[in-house]
């Protein structure tokens, strides 16, 4: 769907080249929600904006839907852009136009739509984003979440098959963020839109993404299914994001010095999250366990959980317990043998 071949980008600032994206290969699949997470300055926006060529690449090829975007002329680029919607952190709505006029804008610019057509489409989009009552308001009269809904409706106006989201929820409070993410997930599911979103918040990735790339210093350092990348995290950047997202203070080995036995971290995904696995294994192997830390959550539609437990018992009991846990589909990391 979206294919990067050795795409790189450097900005020229006062005659000096500042690299923002190292040569990158990337494949975003049709119909997926692909997330990019990274700290500020990692190069996320640069990568995203290369997709619709709001930034010109310094080199490499970008191929989308079989079209070599990097080879398009100005005219070709304009018509290509109509198949890619985009939403922004600060919404970027026109303050001088009403909600309905904002949503109608991409169709007006594209031409070839009658005004009755446009009005009908605007009504449909307003229903989809739940803003039917606000059609004649100006953006300044809306809340942040409502503004982003207008942004989403506007991005969908020309019926694109890709939606780019640049920190679309970073200016919103947690509750509004959740609602906007839910809307994005709905659009992905019902319209089959491919979504590429960038964020610096773990939670956004966990809630809606199928796959994730972790960016650092202009490089995608890790990439894969969300659960694989984050449970457990490997790269230092990934680890730092996981740690930041834990509500409580991150516990270190030192905190467990008084704890007896070996310490393992168990990761449950999908069905096994709710199954009484730990109790059964303890009964069957005769091992004792105590829970040191734990959390249960979700990755997109999948339940998942992590427990840090101390296991005390004989060597052979411990071994049997680990084997049984792994057999039950639990990922096991030994923190202290």
């Amino acid at each position: 769907m979206i294919e990067f071949q050795q795409v790189h980008k450097a900005y020229t600032v006062q005659g000096r080249q500042i690299p923002a994206l190292q040569p990158t290969d990337l494949h975003v699949r049709r119909g997926e929600v692909f997330g990019l997470i990274g700290h500020s300055g990692a190069g996320k926006s640069t990568l995203l904006r290369l997709i619709n060529r709001l930034e010109e690449p310094s080199g490499g090829r970008i191929i989308i839907n079989g079209i070599e975007v990097t080879a398009l002329d100005a005219n070709g680029l304009r018509s290509f852009r109509r198949s890619v919607g985009m939403i922004f952190q600060h919404f970027n709505l026109l303050a001088s136009k009403t909600v309905a006029e904002n949503i109608a804008m991409p169709m007006k610019l594209a031409g070839g739509h009658g005004s009755a057509d446009i009005a009908q489409r605007v009504r449909e989009l307003l229903v989809r984003v739940g803003l039917s009552e606000h059609a004649q308001k100006y953006p300044a009269q809306l809340s942040g979440g409502q503004k982003q809904r207008v942004g989403i409706a506007r991005a969908l106006a020309t019926g694109p098959d890709i939606l780019l989201c640049d920190e679309a929820t970073s200016a919103l409070d947690p509750q509004t963020t959740a609602q906007v993410l839910q809307l994005l997930a709905e659009i992905n599911r019902e319209l089959g839109l491919t979504i590429v979103l960038i964020t610096h918040e773990m939670d956004v990735i966990r809630r809606v993404c199928d796959r994730v790339g972790v960016m650092d210093g202009g490089v995608i350092v890790e990439l894969g299914d969300v659960a694989d990348v984050f449970l457990p995290p490997q790269h230092p950047t990934t680890i730092s994001f996981v740690q930041e997202s834990e509500d409580d203070d991150f516990v270190t080995d030192e905190d467990w010095q008084q704890v007896q036995g070996s310490i393992v971290r168990l990761t449950f995904l999908g069905e096994s999250t709710y199954a009484p696995v730990l109790g059964r294994v303890a009964r069957e192997t005769g091992i004792d366990y105590s829970i040191l830390a734990g959390r249960i959550g979700r990755i997109k539609d999948q339940p998942c959980g992590q427990l840090t437990v101390a296991l005390s018992g004989s060597e052979s009991q411990a071994l049997a317990a680990r084997e049984q846990l792994q057999a039950a589909g639990v990922t096991l990391e030994v923190i202290r043998a």
Partner: protein, 221 residues
Amino acid sequence: MSAMFVNIDWYEIWLATLDTLLMLGGSLLFTVLLGLPLGVLLFLLGPRQLFAHRGAYAALSLVVNVLRSLPFIILLIVMIPFTVLVTGTSLGVAGAIPPLVVGATPFFARLVETALREVDRGIIEAVQSMGATTGQIIWNALLPEARPGIIAAVTVTAITLVSYTAMAGVVGAGGLGDLAIRFGYQRFQTDVMVVTVVLLLVLVQILQMLGDRLVVHFSRK
């Protein structure tokens, strides 16, 4: 009461008011027609803008600055041959309009440029991401978004033009300012001076109020 206004010929005042309004209306119209595109061009050529071009911007900027630094009274005189060429006369209301336009256009263009720079870059990008042409970006996004700023610029320019018209008396253009100078100042008819100045003040007040109202209306807050 009537003794206070012995020197006043109200018909004369009425004619002068009409001249001032004609000069103001005519010169404001042409100033906006010329200054708006010039301001847009200045903006587009400016650093990091859509048609950023250092050389062209510097050249245009210089022309604008030269015209702006010229005192209006000098411009009036220097422009006489050009004015005759355009209007066939260097006298009267028609003779005053070309120098008024040339004096006010660079000023207005700068104000337009500033108003356009106030438009959030993100809005331009959003419209670009919809596949807009440069013309569409200007018409559908930049100008509507900058409308309050541009209206404020028109207001300031109109008021500046009111004071310029007073000087246009030098080329025999007539108007309230001319009356104030010829009768009020040179013939010591204080009552004429007071009446004309009050009328000019009322005009400026009306312009400012109208402008402010429009700005508020189009700010969509």
